[in-house]
Symmetry: C2
Amino acid sequence: MITSHHNPLLKDIRRLHRRRDGGRFVAEGEDLVAAADAAGWQPVVRLRAGVDVEESVLAKVSSLGSGTRELAVYEERWAQPAGPVCVALWGVKDPGNVGTVLRAARAFGAACVAIGPNTADPFGTKAVRASMGAIFEVPLARVDDVASLPGPRVALVARAGEPMTGPATGTLVVGAEREGLPDDVVAACDEVRHIAIESESLNAAMAATVALYEWNRVRA
Amino acid sequence: MITSHHNPLLKDIRRLHRRRDGGRFVAEGEDLVAAADAAGWQPVVRLRAGVDVEESVLAKVSSLGSGTRELAVYEERWAQPAGPVCVALWGVKDPGNVGTVLRAARAFGAACVAIGPNTADPFGTKAVRASMGAIFEVPLARVDDVASLPGPRVALVARAGEPMTGPATGTLVVGAEREGLPDDVVAACDEVRHIAIESESLNAAMAATVALYEWNRVRA
């Protein structure tokens, strides 16, 4: 059982919280580790309070104010973009929003979340936590080109195009909170849609959640 | 122009960030203050960097890591629960979720957000920020009884009842992330609905957003 804060493994985990390297990431909390187990992910390292490491020592490597009973390190996985339903994020910089989109993708049956340029790391600590385990269930792809996404590609924008409804398959391309999608990305898409709202905007996670819900509803 | 960190007004604002009192709250950032102006809210105090207060001094009372150009203090406002569409939160403890529900209520035309027991303070700093200005546009009510909400009252739960669709007016009652709605609250509602999902759950903000979208869609 690890009893020292100076243990190299713990130093490694503290560093991973700040800046990931070596393609590994940390999942913290019994629920997340259970989600990884259920999805068949083998941890590189697994630390349980009172079993593998002293509780107070584990608390010090926790990114949560409340400490944690368990954490584990995994190797990140990347897949190719895939349909029938994919969500692509372009410039979504808030890791909480990226994690929430993963959760929505899981809830509404998307096959893939594609991470485009200038988007928060989906394997970062905050995104993993916000995903509530969906990080282990929804395949992730890295993309830098709309053409690599399953078609039709639907640009989700604040006000242009038709209201959101079908085609209900293809890729939903979601942009940043303020700037929206770059013009060249919109131009490279096959369709432009918006969610009918009475205010200025929704955040990227809310917009993606509603759009995924709508496609799921239309398919069902 | 205020130049001292020890100015009593600034101390007051720092305290309001931590623990609100006197029915006042802080809105931070030019966008939020502009939203308040547009909605006709008069600030009790308004501080602009370089005009009313030195920039570096204002930065020290900011709750944002990046500092702020402007902040203002307002008196909170409470209304009675009102329809045709109301959202009631019961045990939603995360202030970011409360603010996001306000934003969704604004986007999808709800007349009121009702704050039930054990729910985060909607006028707290984090909730105000997450609302993106909707705090100034959507009337808030305090409730401790389902019977005081506009009917029909629809309990939004994880899996029971019919899938979410009409009546499209009345009150959507949304519970906590994990525990959901207490049994007595569900029993006091007129209908029980769920959002059809393929995973365990959505968070309260996502569920409320989708439900409000759905009601708005059905009405349109």
